[in-house]
């Protein structure tokens, strides 16, 4: 584990290392930070060495976008229309998944409160590479309505890399579909490598994240 700053003020008792007695009477040590999280840094993954294969894989990746069903802000109210009869994004290979482990696309649907940002970073890091981020609305670009709020971030690209921005407050489902189309084009062109960018500039992102999240009571990288 690289550098775990545990600010005492925000220490969570559940994360403390402790000795417990199991139901069978045996005593053992529990260190949740070690047990719950992986301490491995993210890696930069090279694309497949054969261009044709990589192209084929990119095509499959582009046409099968699994979206993490995490409504982070008000833009998430436009996700249900997308998935229902009017717009039916399923026919474009867009499906939603409830767990980050199985998702490839993270829709940041608008503003991020600092408290959510922490969860977003964890979810983002849990997503398997290659992964893509769609940022909806003004709030992710430059703070939007909440540019002067003490609890929402102003620009998302300081914390996680963003593939596509969608203008709007909030963007309509049409705009969202257009964003997915653009994302598909990018992936097919082999430009959807933001996950590698995150891994390459990991320290910079971490520094920014830690500046905002004052109670950083988890390891730097949490799988």
């Amino acid at each position: 584990m690289s550098e775990t700053k545990n600010n005492n003020k925000f220490e969570n008792p559940h994360y403390a290392k402790r000795e417990v007695t199991g139901p069978d009477g045996k005593q053992f040590i529990v260190d949740p930070i070690k047990d719950y999280f992986s301490d491995e840094r993210p890696k930069v993954y090279e694309p497949n060495s054969i261009p044709v294969v990589e192209k084929f894989l990119n095509w499959a990746r582009a046409e099968s976008l699994w979206v993490l069903g995490f409504g982070t802000g008000c833009g998430s109210i436009e996700i249900p229309p997308l998935m229902t009869p009017r717009f039916d994004a399923f026919r474009f290979g867009i499906q939603s998944r409830p767990t980050p482990r199985q998702s490839n696309v993270f829709i940041i649907s608008g503003y991020l409160a600092v408290k959510t940002l922490k969860r977003v970073i964890r979810s983002y890091e849990q997503m398997p590479s290659p992964k893509y981020v769609l940022a909806l609305g003004s709030c992710t670009i430059n703070g939007g309505m909440y540019f002067d709020s003490y609890n929402t971030i102003n620009r998302l690209d300081h914390y996680i890399p963003v593939d596509v921005y969608v203008a709007g407050c909030m963007p309509r489902p049409e705009a969202l579909l257009a964003a997915f189309n653009r994302l598909k084009e990018l992936i097919k062109e082999g430009k959807g490598e933001k996950a590698n960018e995150y891994a390459a500039n990991f320290d910079w992102y971490k520094e920014n994240q830690k500046k905002i999240i004052k109670d950083w009571n988890m390891p730097d990288y949490n799988w």
Partner: protein
């Protein structure tokens, strides 16, 4: 778990044979009212920044735009919209003073670079610039600020027609605040005002019911607010951004409101001038008009001793002798002048400065400032204009002020379309009304009605009072029979300026008219009289085209001890005189400090 309840949900499978409701092509157009991306008609836009003021997200910033020039009434700035901030509420459209800003119904903009998402609508070309549909300012009766000017109480035409009493009553507090409330605080007017008065600031002071602050703002740039509040040519109102869709703010009346509220004995207290420093520098100012008064005021504040030499027996110059009392009561001039005097300025009346006196002043004073204005009337020089019953308006107005009896026949023709022509028209109309009970004035001018230089309300009011305003005629000759004037022959004037923009009226000789008159008043402009300047100085002073004295930015002539300002340099109007005086005061102060 009844069987019916188990079977009835299967009804849903009936949809299997129905057509899905999915949109085959999901890219729909937005609704006709949809609030999408911004459009701006940059030619209509004046860059007033109201959109920036109302934007709760600071999404709009005003930036200089390529191809847009800063000019009177147009700041040259255009709104830049940041889609990292915008929330598409459309309040900017609703508040837009010119109605240039609107939203298209385009709603999709995708990009990878977040820096891309800001642009100047109308300048940076976007695909939706041509789209017709989208959010526009709601109509009718939907306004974010008052569209109609709060009208001031006035005497009716019948009532005022035979009296020289000031007929425009001032605003009451409620009226003034209501009118001040309409201001959007853009500040575009400030550049146009020759004195660059703090217009938004004093209007704000009225809104806040803080008259003292208003006074302080006024006196920062204008020591004659009572006068300006009544007779200023209010160029600011011509460019007022609120005036694009509604009535412009009556900035002049608001200024008058502030000055009216304060009794003259409170001035020193409010303006914090009970005790001012006095140095040993002496300045002579010739002519007690607005330019000199303004210069004297600011020079007094800067600690100099000023002496004004006035030919006539009252101060005010053209303000007193050129403007009839019903527009500017004399006690209001006295109020402003008294305050300037109270700061240590001495006014020596009935002193005609001639060449000898001028040289004496040069010896005795550190600086001489001339602000003698334009007191010579110009003549049309048409046949018959040398007749004794052809008068100069400027002379008549002075005589009326001085209380002299002037000739008032039943029929009078006034030539001229400026404010002075209106003043004389209305003054004569009043005198006629007093004398004969009816009005018989015809006023004619070269300019057509739309381009007459006189203020609109002057023309309207003159007509209300019974005068006939018949513009668009070029005077040809004066018919004289038996040594008496019979009338004025005029022909239709087609245009005043030629293609190069020079003054060269083209007349239609076939379209003739004849105005009967016993007396003709010429009011087509004035010239300056600088005969008091000694000849040896005249040779040293540089003159510009049209015979005006050349001055630098601070109204210093080529002789460093001689400053000049007022109508003879710029104008003619009061506010230029005030501005000149103020600036000259700074110039004089700098000059004296250097010496």
């Amino acid at each position: 778990m009844s069987l019916k309840d188990t079977l009835i949900p299967f009804k849903a499978w009936g949809n299997l044979v129905k057509k899905p409701v999915t949109l085959k092509d999901p890219m729909r157009e937005g609704a006709p009212r949809y609030r999408g991306f911004h459009k701006n008609d940059v030619d209509t836009c004046i860059g007033c920044g109201s959109c920036e003021a109302i934007c709760e997200n600071e999404a709009i910033v005003m930036v200089p735009a390529e191809g847009i020039e800063t000019k009177d009434g147009d700041s040259g700035l255009r709104p830049l919209v940041d889609y990292g901030r915008c929330c598409w509420c459309g309040l900017c459209v609703d508040v837009c003073t010119t109605g240039s800003l609107s939203l298209s119904n385009e709603h999709t903009w995708i990009c990878e670079d977040p820096e891309e998402l800001k642009y100047i609508p109308g300048i940076d070309k976007k695909p939706w610039d041509e789209k017709e549909e989208g959010w526009k300012k709601p109509v009718p009766n939907y306004h974010f600020y008052g569209q109609e000017r709060v009208s001031m109480e006035e005497m009716e035409a019948e009532e005022r027609g035979d009296s020289f009493i000031e007929f425009v009553k001032g605003y009451s507090k409620e009226q003034a605040q209501k009118e001040a409330d309409r201001c959007v605080e853009c500040g575009i007017c400030v550049a146009t005002c020759p004195a660059h008065m703090g217009i938004p600031e004093y209007i704000k002071a009225i809104r806040n019911d803080d008259i003292e602050e208003g006074m302080r703002v006024l006196y920062e740039t204008n020591p004659l607010p009572e006068i300006c509040g009544r007779i200023c040519t209010h160029k600011c109102e011509d460019v007022c951004s609120v005036g694009h869709e509604g009535d412009p703010l009556s900035i002049r009346w608001l200024k008058r409101y502030i000055a009216d509220q304060v009794p003259s004995d409170k001035y020193k207290e409010i303006l914090d001038t009970q005790k001012i420093y006095k140095g040993d520098k002496k300045i002579a100012l010739i002519g007690a008009g607005p330019a000199s008064l303004s210069a004297a005021y600011y020079l007094s504040l800067l600690g100099h001793n000023c002496t004004i030499f006035e030919k006539l027996d009252k101060a005010g110059g053209m303000m007193r002798y050129g403007i009839p009392e019903y527009r500017l009561p004399y006690d209001q001039i006295d109020k402003d002048v008294k305050y300037i005097e109270s700061l240590g300025t001495e006014i020596i009346y009935n002193t005609n400065v001639d060449a000898a006196k001028f040289m004496e002043l040069k010896e005795n004073y550190d600086v001489v400032y001339v602000g003698t204005g334009l007191h010579l009337g110009r003549s049309t020089a048409i046949p018959g204009s040398d007749h004794e019953h052809v008068f100069q308006s400027i002379d008549l107005l002075r005589e009326i002020t001085e209380g002299k009896e002037i000739m008032v026949p039943e029929k009078v023709v006034v030539i001229g379309g400026g404010n002075v022509a209106m003043d004389i028209t209305r003054s004569i109309a009043r005198l006629q009304k007093i004398k004969y009970g009816k009005v018989g004035v015809i006023t004619t001018s070269l300019e057509k009605e739309e381009v007459m230089p006189a203020d609109r309300e002057e023309v309207v009011e003159a007509r209300e009072e019974g005068s006939i305003i018949n513009p668009g005629w070029g005077p040809k000759s004066i018919e004289i029979e038996d040594g008496k004037i019979k009338g004025l022959h005029v022909v239709r004037c087609l245009s005043i300026f030629d293609e190069t923009g020079r003054f060269n009226p083209s007349l239609d000789e076939d379209d003739k008219n004849f105005f009967e008159a016993d007396m003709i008043v010429e009011s087509i402009g004035q010239g300056m009289d600088i005969s008091y300047l000694p000849e040896e100085l005249k040779e040293k002073i540089e003159f510009g085209p049209r015979g005006r004295i050349n001055v630098d930015d601070y109204f210093q002539t080529s002789l460093d001890w001689l400053f000049a300002g007022g109508d003879m340099i710029q104008g003619p109007d009061v506010i230029h005189g005030i501005a000149n005086g103020h600036k000259a005061a700074i110039g004089i102060d700098n000059f004296l400090n250097k010496k």
